[in-house]
Subunit: 247 residues, 2 copies
Amino acid sequence: MKVFSVAGITQSGKTTTIENIIRELRKRRYSVGSVKEIHFEQFAIDTEGTNTHRHKNAGSQLVTARGYHETDILFQNKLDIDHILSFYNHDFVVLEGVDDYDVPKIISAHNEEEVLERMDDLVFAISGRISNTIDELQGLPAINSMENIEKLVDLIEEKVYDKLPAFPEECCNECGYSCRELGSMILKGKAKREECVLENTKVKLQIGGKDIKMVPFVQNILSNAVLGVVSELEGYMKGKEISIHIE
Amino acid sequence: MKVFSVAGITQSGKTTTIENIIRELRKRRYSVGSVKEIHFEQFAIDTEGTNTHRHKNAGSQLVTARGYHETDILFQNKLDIDHILSFYNHDFVVLEGVDDYDVPKIISAHNEEEVLERMDDLVFAISGRISNTIDELQGLPAINSMENIEKLVDLIEEKVYDKLPAFPEECCNECGYSCRELGSMILKGKAKREECVLENTKVKLQIGGKDIKMVPFVQNILSNAVLGVVSELEGYMKGKEISIHIE
């Protein structure tokens, strides 16, 4: 699953850029999901007086509204992006205005100043109103999504890599980088997505049907805990693959 | 996770009954979630013009709105109740107006006729406006949730069992019943929740593709060894099934 974000202030053309990107990605037959960060203290999707709102006010801690054509699951807290992405299974996911998650990033801006404020090593393109006046800034292409969406989406196809695990820096480092640094090196063409050692993992864990990523150190602990028990059982053969299912 | 439903037509006092139940369950320190079925063709929680609505219209197939105090995951189809319940991890979940899922049921009604229309072997109580005039119907207690919520929630605590697997009839039948029939027998006091054999085969092990039989004692050792590690990992959720594969 390839995840990228579009960052920028209100009225910079962010949502328009995203609409154009989503349309073009769908045109190219990809499945697409999106996450919109809402920077508005009073935001509430459900309104006073609905039955779901009455459930919540009575104390229901997770309310779902199921209609004929949609199902809305209303969590009463700000979920981590990793938790949110666990509900997705799409070729591409676009994040709008999310700034606490390290993925390749397009900056949408009115002018140079706004770009420079948001510039970092994960930016791979510039778009929004500024792209009406310039084609390039600090070596990065500025592409107008109204006039040149094919070029922008070509770049997304070229640059955006399968989501890295997003472990904290102190936790893995097996590839020689933090996850964020590896991402930045991939964007620069100095590293490959396959360098993430978790691709080659020998111990796989699923909970409730969802993959749980483990750094090699934790994989070893789990593997040793399992072997400690099963190697005593009749039928155990060293080197054979082991599957365990706990309901 | 104990799941039950409240069924009945509009204005029968269904949502009021549910509000009172949720409040009382929370007062008794249970965690509670709920699902509201919306029988209204045009229902849409998101409205024209919002940025999330623009994402959807551009072709985003799963849109999430993340605010400071809530996260709303907006699926664009009617999800199965089993799929919806996979997001829950609460002591009790109340379903309002859901009629395609076999769980213990309270009927909310204006009058006898409405009760009889909805009566089946999973009904364990009657509530709503009818409970202003009668105390009992066909051997089932009619309880007013405004005046007697303690009695109604005592009954919920007594009757509602941990959700059964909801396998199709032809699929398991190991206990001698379909899942629905077992539920009905539990409500009548003629069977116990523990008769569901899936309770007793919790740990499965394969080595080199072959099933390794374990006595319950060894199943517990292996299960505890695994849980000792994985319960510390991010993404772990109590009660969810765990799969491990070691190459």
